[in-house]
Symmetry: C3
Subunit: 417 residues, 3 copies
């Protein structure tokens, strides 16, 4: 996954344009991707698909004619959606278009101006400080023209048409944790699921943030009823405790499943209540949709210094943390795949497990976790408690509870509720 | 407020009599007061309005003829509702009518005997200890005759006939915190509200404790449905953390509003669950009424040593603490005035705030509290959450949330639910 | 109680057989017991009543002919339900039938093999370690034949046919805490209740664990609706904090009553959520029945080293701890006897307690707990709160609350809801 992130890193992505197409094409080499182009001007709820932005080159030359800022060095150097510009400007005028981080003088910030026509360069504060008076040549060779917004979908069909939505944004340029981590983990997760026999169908959406999610929802509004669970993946590659932000509902099955996996694991974590600011869960959890979609991260947007700066580079994420995140996702989905609500066919007193070889034969000492799990599943399979509920209440792992349910089904002691 | 408290301090108040009338007259000089006299013998639920008590003078003369206890020095010296007495008694007999505080030998206690005919003097324990054997002259020049119970009301009309009830007891004599503080803050609050454009009508009731509240409720039973919120103000002038005692309902809007203001403030505070002992919230929150009325205090009755003693004097309350209490009340009422439940007109995905100048134009850095408040209001204005609910859940101040709602209404994004 | 436990200690009990009959006969000498024999082969839900097991003698002789393990020394030496055996076996073969506790080399474990035909001896690990190679004579003079499962019931009739179930298992041999403690406390509790005028009828069931409870439930399924509250008593004689395991419902009246008594007491305690493993609450709280039955213990099964070993002997329980447990049971039942939901006949404002001699006559100082309890009962007797609810909410003892209710009923201020 880290290698794939390195491959995607140099591509200049924005909310529209060839960078997104190129990114989707690379992902499409690994998993089946259906790409959709939505024309500029399309109404999507309260929004309108903007013009498409593309950029070929950009630089600033100092009074001596030396290039001091070059787009080729980092796509972060140009404010995303900068309008084309070419000409000579004074230092004073130039500074009105420069973005720096005074408190982190060696990092380049990431800035955008999607909906207000403007141009700008982002650079190290230390570099800006060293600029001398004089005339500077600025060049942004970009285009902002009617075109389209592009997103990709990968559907992995399961037995049911009910879907699990995995959403990740593909609009950020050379930022590794935000959000190459989300893209590569979503890709790997899709590969992993393709090898399994699945109950749910899984829809992976690779979309530009905000406008992409809104556009996707606008085009798929009638189908959102099929979405039974969902996860937004973002900022999930760095070395930091997991953070799971609950869906707006707060008690969705995905919330319970994520909570159980995090509690059962050995890594530190925090579970956050829903807030309306964040990533595309903002749209999925808008009050009209209110979908059961949570957001899985390591570091939370805006809370770590590297956020939206050049320090969120390929060194900021690591193969083992990406791997750990992938496993966590797989464990959460594994619960969703196997969770069900069952009925004890023998609800009056315990059934005799011993005659079905589901108990120990010598009494007197304590019982094993396996037997204990069977007792939990039997006692609470009253049609009101799912296996996930039982795992939460018992403090036993979902694996144990699920195995107990399988053994009891085989023994004829459980049926579908 | 402290000056007004000083003016009211010497007046000898009880649950009936000229002291209450004089107090209401002084308050009436500052705010419009409608005074009601309810005749002795009137049935009020399970109670009967008692005879009216008035007192002109009282003293004890020691065997040498020297006045050792004088009503003129402090109205606390005479047990409230003492029957008239004049004569000579032995020290032994006298002591059966003396009330002191052995653990606080220099303080005079406050005692009453409203419903059992008796007479008594309250004095410093140190003084009682020094009394020599001999005959003492006792004189209580009081009357206990048919008359009336008196209370005052001040109605500040707002747009709605729905009322906010502010209740404070006016029956205690020379005790500053309990309850001159309540009287002067209620008066100042009425003055403050008179200068505002109000949504609710505000009814201030200045009543004798217990029997006064019961009498008021008995005479206004059919109108209590109009009371949407209420506060009992008492013991709110001394230097101690705020204590808010919740209504019997426990989840009334007044409970949330008081909790939010206290949590947002910088002063220490405690929030108490409802208990059936206390001040007149006992009556407003009796099970038949169960009105949404809380009780705002600084020190809680019975929990501070100065309670119901001569140490609860004008030095025990302070101008700045009274001022702080007034501001707190005003802030709570300000929430009630502005709280409402709204509907997001654009519930599917976020509306585009930028085109309405309600978002920032350059993306990449964190958003301001103002924008965050707008996202909270939009996401939770689903007809189920009031602005107060949203403020509680978001951890943002009511002011920010309310301003966000105003901005969003202007932008056409919110309507009344 | 400790003396009675000593009397019952030597009797060899199992889930069937003469040991149970003898035990019930001894209990029957103290309280009226109705004994039921259910024939081998009877179907009881998913189970079948097993053959009856009896044992007269058992021993192991070492190669020198010396008896090294003797049933007469301790009934624990023979695995319960051991099939008869007589013959010579090598040490190697013998060891396959020996049960020891390596981590407690001087204690004899307690083992059973009810449903798998087998034979075995239980002995000290230190003894087993010292055995030399050679031929050993083993003898178990037992019978496993059609017969019956025996249980006893003691019904103490009260005014109502509604029942409180007290269940305790009688199948364990020479183990004092588990469960002679339960048997002797149940017996003493029945004696105590016999002397009282009772509201509920009390059904004590003395049953073999698991199969006994299942058999009893199978034969009384239609009558379980009468069971309004229940307690399983077990492991309740040793010197350890009380543990109350809640019913599966979690909010049953028995759960509240036990919690209140434990919180009001001076002894340490812990309250446990329901789990499906344990004693016969497993059957009473199976999902089909879901009866309001909790389990009262001192030490919890399986959590103390003496559990199911010869160290759970008569020294492990003590007269004073048994006495404390009995008192606790009696206090819990006393709440159930007196708990009721009442209606304040005067719900609008407080009634005038003073004229009914239910208040103090001199005002000003704090009120007593007695008066406070009356205010709590009046305020919350709205038909929604029982006296137990009011005690819980007020933090006052049930005794105070119940006395307040009695006083208020006498004063005509409360009636049945």
């Amino acid at each position: 996954m880290h290698r794939f992130a390195s491959e995607l890193f140099p591509i200049c992505r924005s909310i529209t344009g060839d960078g997104v197409r190129e990114t989707l094409s690379r992902i499409g080499a690994l998993i089946p991707i259906q790409v959709t182009d939505v024309p500029t001007g399309t109404r999507t709820f309260d929004w309108t698909v903007p013009r498409e932005w593309n950029i070929r080159d950009a630089y600033i030359k100092d009074p001596s004619g030396q290039k001091i800022v070059e787009f080729k060095d980092s796509s972060l150097h140009v404010m995303s959606y900068s309008t084309p510009v070419k000409g000579m400007v004074s230092l004073q005028e130039l500074k009105q278009h420069l973005h720096t981080l005074p408190e982190r003088p060696d990092w380049i910030p990431y800035r955008t101006s999607y909906y207000k026509e403007d141009w700008g360069f982002c650079l190290r504060h230390s570099e800006m400080e060293s600029l001398q008076d004089g005339l500077y040549e600025v060049c942004i060779d970009s285009t902002l023209k009617d075109g389209s917004l592009t997103y990709g979908e990968c559907l992995i069909a399961g037995q049911s048409v009910d879907e699990v939505l995995i959403s990740t944004h593909v609009c950020h340029p050379a930022l590794a944790n935000d959000n190459l981590s989300g893209m590569v983990i979503a890709t790997a997760l899709a590969q992993h699921l393709s090898s399994l026999k699945l109950r749910y169908s899984y829809r992976f959406v690779f979309i530009p943030g905000t406008i992409g999610a809104i556009t996707w929802l606008a085009r798929n509004q009638s189908r959102t009823g099929k979405i039974k669970h969902g996860l937004v993946l973002t900022g999930i590659g760095n070395r930091a405790p997991f953070h799971y932000k609950k869906s707006r509902r707060g008690d969705a099955e995905i919330d319970s499943a994520a909570g159980l996996v995090l509690r059962s694991g050995s890594e530190p974590y925090e579970i956050l209540d829903f807030t309306p600011y964040g990533y595309d869960e903002r749209q999925y959890c808008s009050p009209g949709f209110n979908l059961p979609v949570g957001c899985l991260m390591r570091s939370v947007w805006g809370t770590f210094p590297e956020y939206h700066t050049s320090a969120d580079n390929l060194d900021f994420i690591a193969p083992d943390t990406l791997e750990g995140s992938l496993k966590l996702c797989a464990s959460i989905l594994d619960i969703l795949e196997h969770n069900e609500t069952l009925l004890n066919t023998n609800p009056y007193c315990e059934p005799q497990l011993g005659k079905r070889n589901l108990y120990r034969s010598t009494g007197g000492a304590s019982i094993s976790d396996e037997i204990n799990a069977r007792l939990w599943v039997l006692n609470f399979s009253d049609g009101q408690h799912s296996l996930l509920d039982i795992a939460e209440r018992s403090g036993l792992s979902f694996k144990l509870i699920n195995q107990a349910a399988a053994d009891l089904k085989t023994g004829g002691l459980l049926i579908a509720a």
